[in-house]
Amino acid sequence: MARVIVVTSGKGGVGKTTSSASFATGLALRGNKTVVIDFDVGLRNLDLIMGCERRVVYDFVNVLNNESTLKQALIKDKRCDNLYILPASQTRDKEALTQEGVERILNELKEDFDYIVCDSPAGIEKGALMALYFADEAIVVTNPEVSSVRDSDRILGILAAKSKRAIDGAEPIKEHLVITRYMPKRVEMGEMLSVDDVKELLSIPLLGVIPESESVLSASNAGVPVIHDKNSLSGQAYSDVVSRFMGEDTPMRFLNVEKTGLLKRIFGT
């Protein structure tokens, strides 16, 4: 049975699309048939991060309005065989998303895919609500920073009250915390909330920590999800996230400051 996973956060700019792209890619690299859907109608960006922006012909809203078939709108990823992208519309507004329409598309996708990753827009408006409504699992992307933590907490409240599973009284959505843009050095100096602080505040299980890294910007510049970059710490951290999600026992990495030599410590870099 296909699983629907929403990548959400409440706050914008914390790394939802980056995380969706790398997480979906990671699932596909492990042989799972995966589709990643951009729910940010009007502000499409997943296509850029996945590097398929020039291949968009039809979009999510076209399929909702029966202006194209799902097959026509799905874009096959260049790098992974098992991965497809369903882009958001750039011209319509989020009112185009209806519960019935989204449900119909998800049901159709469930027949062919193992995982359906829903990249949520920021905020708690229609697009965000539709992205999480049908979810079986949620990845809550949080930066170790006050406004992001508060908004994540708000989203957790919405998952627990306004999702289909909550309304039907079914088994609750399985929640996972992914902390992004983590800077161990600043945590050590007491300038940034630690992993344990964020875990304690949000009290949901931790799926992974992605360290702040220059490679994330390079990856989006190039349109290649950072998980493909084996040399990058962020890429490795996303691989770990996927393996933990698949149930493997992968220890947390990149939580502490790398040991530097005495000379470097005295003279700086």
Binding site: V146, E191, G268
Partner: protein
């Protein structure tokens, strides 16, 4: 960080402040999470009814919903302006 920077450092750690503030605000927001959506509308309608007879502000109406085990208590508190209170006393 170089030694010089280290010696110059005087910044106070702020992460603990952030955590404390978040603990307080999240606790408060969790308490409000179970508040029904109709409370603001209820308040407004009460104000409409009461202001037909007495001049009161929205701020003079306090609506509190408390949960005590299985029991929910909806508490309404309307403070009347002083002149009305005097009128009431004089009428006695």
């Amino acid at each position: 960080m170089s030694l010089l920077n280290y010696l110059r450092r005087k910044k106070k750690p702020t992460a603990s402040v952030a955590k404390e503030r978040l603990q307080i605000i999240l606790a408060r927001e969790h308490a409000g999470r179970h508040e029904p959506d109709y409370l603001p509308a209820l308040k407004q309608e009460l104000l409409d009814v009461v202001s037909k007879y007495v001049k009161v502000d929205l701020g003079d109406i306090k609506v509190n919903l408390e949960r005590d085990g299985d029991c929910e208590i909806l508490e309404l508190n309307i403070s009347l302006p002083e002149e009305v209170q005097e009128m009431l006393v004089n009428a006695d």
